[in-house]
Symmetry: C2
Subunit: 209 residues, 2 copies
DNA sequence: TCGTTTACCTAACAGTCGTTAGTTAGGCGC
DNA sequence: GCGCCTAACTAACGACTGTTAGGTAAACGA
């Protein structure tokens, strides 16, 4: 999603940001300021070009924001899938779930302006743009449901958990972190361990010690 | 926060919505559509008046949205405090925490457009408006920290929980519900029980059966 | 009955928005 | 050297924004 200029770096005009560069900048601004406060003129200025020039790369503002949203899910989806497929086949369920949580949180907080922009602005964009992002979202949700269902079947999770509800709760909790996370107070990885501890074992002091 | 017309119902002009009525409508629109897409003209139209007339009741759009944000926290704060002070003094810690979770979720999902509007638009409003809402927020957060600290001290909670982090996680999780909650799929109270079960006991199948 | 207050109205302001049309200049293949 | 492609530019469009100034009509206290 980054990797501008596959070969020789164009440098045609002064700026040389190109389509990918504009998209990177749009994602960063959307993450920082939300959807409504980011105008095409702001994006253009940050990219060192003029507002009208954006229409050489994109057909509309909606097209930009839709591209940002899709890329955001694809990044976190790939991050989560890679994390769990990289584990040995006989890894226990708890470890797999911890890895998935860590991968999601990493993409959200450390790696990708696209993923954080998606979480931040999804609720602010026009309905049509939201709808266009839904298939990509559903694929990611299905990946989680598949993982959680398997963990339920193999006895890692309690048998009375509602997979869909648990997935909504999990992803909602992780995404909410974006509102208050401060890297100076602790890394995303440390936070993911806390999250996993709470979800897996709860916060209640247990009698059976 | 509702209760328009303490005594005789003005009915002066045609609409008779008044300041409180405009605020109610603004809160509803903000909850439904977010901050950026709700103009003063939309609020005015929904209230049956003209845009300029809003300036009789409020000095600016920021003043409206600030009033909505403050009321939103006050409603959920009162809901949560009332719920726990209504319990008998010797109520066990787990029950108190469950009551607090239920009260927050009720205010958010069932009772108040103000609370849901706050959660929805807080991240979208200008910095100055956010700052103005902070003292009210901090008071509510302090109430939670006080509750969680006491539960930790009396041994209800594990001794290694970080109160601040747990509070951020808890409220973040509850608020995230707003993005997907559908009353047709289950009540807010039923959902709050699921939340409490997960947070208190975790989702892991336990060996000690 | 008169003056004041309350709650609205109309009309316009300057600014910003997404978007479009037409133009320009550098680099590459032929 | 000529023509094309790429990536920008300028200038303007209509729509919409928050906001203001000044006017109006109904209700109320004296």
């Amino acid at each position: 999603m980054k990797q501008t200029t596959t070969n020789k770096a164009p440098e045609t005009a002064r700026s040389a940001v190109g389509r990918d560069g504009v998209l990177d900048i749009a994602a960063r601004l959307f993450r920082e300021q939300g959807y409504g406060s980011v105008s095409l003129r702001k994006i253009a200025e940050a990219a060192g070009i003029k507002a009208g020039s954006i229409y050489y790369h994109f057909g509309s503002k909606d097209e930009i924001v839709a591209a940002v949203l899709d890329a955001g899910i694809q990044v976190v989806h790939a991050s989560m899938r890679d994390a769990i497929t990289a584990l040995p086949a006989d890894t226990d369920g708890e470890t797999v779930l911890r890895a998935a949580i860590r991968a999601h949180l990493r993409a959200l907080l450390d790696v990708s302006d696209y993923t954080s922009a998606n979480v931040r602005i999804f609720g602010q964009v026009p309905q049509s743009v939201r709808d266009a992002n839904l298939p990509t979202r559903r694929a990611y949700e299905a990946e989680w449901d598949s993982l959680l269902s398997q963990l339920k079947k193999d006895g890692t999770l309690k048998q009375d958990v509602d997979v869909r509800r648990l997935r909504l709760m999990l992803i909602g909790t992780l995404n909410a972190t974006l509102d208050w996370f401060d890297p100076d107070r602790g890394s995303a990885d440390a936070l993911s361990r806390t999250y996993a501890d709470v979800f897996l074992n709860g916060i209640l002091q247990r009698q059976d010690t």
